[in-house]
Symmetry: C2
Subunit: 563 residues, 2 copies
């Protein structure tokens, strides 16, 4: 490709509003352009990288036995109603009506579409398992889009769905997809950590995010140094230490407590550590159920865990007014008196003689002990892991931050049991619901993450596997003819070349080459021609060297490991 | 791929409602499945064919200098308003609002999106020309969808847009795309005829449809035997013969006419051929303009041509009531009296002494002559070509019917002049609007057309270039192990294989193979093994032959012209 005719050249100025490195570089180097916030054009350079990623994903999915196919973008809304996801999805679903009055969801994920397709066939256990996947445009009606490709409103996603006769068979597939994902990300130049995470709007019992460590990521997780345990902060489990098990239980006592409503206010008044208190929050779940959640005062409630325990879709803290109506008061709510459903964290069992509010303004109850003085309806882990916490077997947990580039989900019969007829005929002649899993990769986000990881102050440094072109050829004044010839020669040898044939200053051409980030830059000038050389410069090395023109093709093939 | 594990196997029964051959076969053989009317899943076999077509289109577009990219699916509606296409598009545009209140069109075609993108750059004449294209999902809110992939509500389209500094440069590109399209369709196994056609909702001055002759096509066209002239019936030009130029003009005469309102009624009353009459129809254009269209009585009005002449978006015949209000009456309207804008067809000049209505019930005017007795505001071709008509230079025109698989459009400055800032800086430093063209191919429709053309009573016969697999391997009981080995061996040689490894009757496997339509079927059985052979059967030949297993790979490579 001659750069003079390439559509989408480099841009000098960048708006101050562009913050993320990947956004800035992909924009400036001519890979992407915004249409409106969260919706991007992929320019000719950008689509080449995206296609390369797609090819790698496709190759690894096929190797793992995946079968590519595609669903329509518009999903009949009735299917989403069948699984009740029109109410519960975590992203706003976009929907549209056609002129005949049929309503459709714009594809967000495609579980319903795939199950609906599969149930149109008479599937026997002999046909199982299969894993069908697609690359298709997905839509999320996000209120806020981040700059660039990291969080968008429309994007290409590889989404795969596997169908099994048994859980055991599914587990093999889950492991296979785990390995496939590691292989895919490694091929595109990313180190990923699979972390346990929340299944959100997808459903099912467990899932893993594939995360690339990055300061700009939105996923916060905890991990042991040896990476044997890694989990999203929303689901991470940690060890609860007994705080004062040698203390004796003292009798209950209610007394005046001239303090403010916070845990800190209590610490100040009693001059005791935060763990001495019970933290209690009243929530309103789904339609209107009031529930009470309690845990040790030094810990924070993890609303994701709490929602799972409650099996609810919506959750919000109660208002002052609502708490008053229940017969308590903000800052002095206790798990002792209120007659609503109570959820307690196991940390309530790690302290002897808690103090807590007495459900009256500025009155506290002292020496409160779990089981002796109160119990809860459900005792379950609802805590966010605190700083410095350890795994259940005592290993140190380090906090990490990263970008989620893919995820794999166990679905079990979550969809197949809700959608009628989503059954196969088993060996015994009986109809059974499919056991399922699903597996997603955001292609654009993967591309942006590569740039976050592989770039320097001058621009992008593409991994060889996904570079838009293999060679960035630059001609310097006086060597135009030789550059033209070399351009032809390299292409004839099957090497893809971006050829900067413009009549521009060398400095400006070099700058553009660094910005665009092709791994190998070849410069040809009257000076290099004197020694029948070209200048060979690898994007990730500071030094350049001379290479004989006659050996160039071989060297490039070696560099790219082409046969 | 082992057929036992393929998702989307053949189907025995077909609904009576499935009429089109391509619909029936693609459904039955497991290439596509309907989601809801007009929206299709492409199953694993189907996506392979579609991908093969995509690859061929991409290859030829790239060879012609096209640059692939992609736009978002959701187009800001403001762009379509800028060109006034929210009102004038020929298909119903689907639109959707996001939760922040922004409205978007679901991409139908992408002229506005591409122009909007290009105007974000500072384009100089040096950057021109370029041709940018994409493969993306398109939406049409059709009231009626046909069965299968021929007319759908959602489909993958290759749409290309070229930007030029001058009309001359565009003309070169138009010819290049013409050749590219011929090459693409020829490679996928289709003979196309480029026919002049109406530009419909796209705009511009001229365009060509690439049509594959077929009884089930929706395009009707006229063509000379040597194909030197071919045009859609909506735009076809034809020779007007003088009917009675030797007659003398007689004086005007109004007389009672006890006849009905049709041309036939006139023929009956006067016992004269239809061409003796003037056919006049009152239309209502756009908001509320009444116009009068007249032509020779043996011809019919071509509303597409008429809309172009009027440069209007909407056109409908006036009601009885509206005609009365104007001071005339249905069946007796003439171009002589009414004081509204008049459009006349040149056929009005081919008859001496017409008769026509006298704008009163059962009164006619005789001996009406164009120019002597009336003229029109616009004299322009507004006639449908009649049966047996000839080209302007006297060649016979044959009527044809076919499927439109692609089209190429001159756009000129139709979009760039309407969208502000759609300019480039020319050599003289002045800003000028882009001169444009656009070029579309429906990928799914192309696939269905191939099936319409390449199939027999037993199933599909895929052209080698787009077959989902190169070999359909069938094992017969007793030769399973050898078949497994051969499957591995062929794949290692880089040959793609669909391997029917099921424990089924040979007859049923052969039937499925014929239905699926892979060009080459290889059968291995204990009988063929006796001579160290396999059975080689080409899908389009009746006879099979034996081929030595040892020579099989070479033979297959020769068959597919693989190196």
């Amino acid at each position: 490709m001659k750069y003079s005719k390439l559509f989408g050249k480099t841009v000098k100025e960048v708006s101050q509003e562009i913050k993320l490195v990947s956004h800035k570089l992909l924009y400036q180097a001519g890979f992407i352009r915004e249409s409106v916030a969260g919706r991007y054009y992929f320019l000719p350079l950008g689509i080449k990288v995206r296609d390369n990623i797609v090819r790698i994903v496709e190759d690894e999915m096929d190797k793992a036995g995946g079968q590519k196919m595609i669903t329509p973008v518009l999903h009949p809304i009735e299917l989403w109603e069948e699984t009740n996801r029109t109410n519960s999805v975590g992203f706003e679903l976009m929907s549209i009506e056609d002129q005949r009055g049929a309503r459709f969801a714009l594809g967000g994920t495609a579980e319903e579409m795939m199950v609906d397709l599969v149930r149109k066939f008479n599937v026997s256990y002999k046909d199982l398992p299969f894993n069908i996947y697609q690359f298709s445009q997905k839509f999320r009606d996000e209120l806020r889009a981040r700059g660039g490709l990291l969080r968008v409103r429309e994007f290409l996603m590889k989404d795969a769905y596997s169908f099994h006769a048994t859980e055991e068979d599914f587990k093999d597939e889950y492991q296979k997809m785990w390995n496939t994902y590691s292989a895919i990300f490694s091929r595109v130049g990313l180190d990923t950590v699979p972390i346990e995470s929340d299944n959100g709007y997808i459903g099912g019992d467990y899932c893993h995010e594939f995360v690339v460590e990055s300061e700009v990521g939105e996923s916060r997780y905890l991990m042991t140094e040896d990476k044997s345990y890694a989990a999203h902060e929303e689901v991470a489990e940690f060890k609860l230490e007994d705080m004062n098990s040698d203390e004796k239980q003292l009798p209950l006592e209610v007394k005046d407590a001239p303090r403010g409503p916070t845990i800190k206010d209590g610490v100040k008044l009693y001059d005791q550590p935060a763990w001495r208190q019970i933290k209690t929050i009243v929530y309103v779940a789904d339609e209107d159920e009031k529930i009470l959640a309690s845990l040790r005062g030094d810990l924070d409630i993890n609303e994701v865990k709490l929602k799972h325990v409650l099996k609810c879709d919506q959750l919000r803290p109660a208002t002052e007014e609502e708490i008053k109506k229940l017969g308590s008061i903000v800052g002095f709510v206790s798990p002792l008196k209120l007659k609503i459903r109570k959820i307690g964290d196991p940390s309530l069992k790690t302290v002897v003689n808690f103090y807590t509010g007495a459900d009256e303004h500025q009155k506290d109850t002292l020496n409160v002990n779990y089981e002796r003085d109160f119990t809860v309806d459900i005792l379950a882990d609802i805590a966010l892991p605190p700083e410095g916490c350890k795994t259940k077997d005592g290993k140190k947990l380090i906090e990490g931050r990263g970008i989620e580039v893919g995820n794999i989900f166990q679905l079990g019969t979550h969809y197949s049991s809700k959608m009628s007829g989503a059954m196969f005929t088993d060996q015994d002649g009986k109809e059974k619901p499919f056991y399922m899993g699903c597996y997603g990769i955001g292609v654009g986000r993967t591309m942006a993450t590569v740039v976050e990881v592989h770039s320097d102050e001058n621009g992008i440094i593409w991994p060889k596997s996904i570079t838009p072109y293999q060679v960035h050829l630059i001609s310097i004044k006086g060597a135009e003819k030789e550059a033209d010839d070399l351009y032809e020669k390299l292409q004839e040898a099957g090497i893809s070349v971006l050829y900067d044939d413009r009549d521009e200053r060398p400095g400006s051409k070099f700058k553009d080459a660094d910005l665009i980030g092709i791994p190998l830059r070849i410069v040809i000038s009257t000076r290099t021609l004197e020694g029948k050389n070209v200048e060979w410069k690898e994007r990730n090395l500071a030094e350049s060297k001379n290479v004989k023109i006659d050996n160039l093709v071989d060297n490039i093939k070696k560099f790219y490991e082409l046969s």
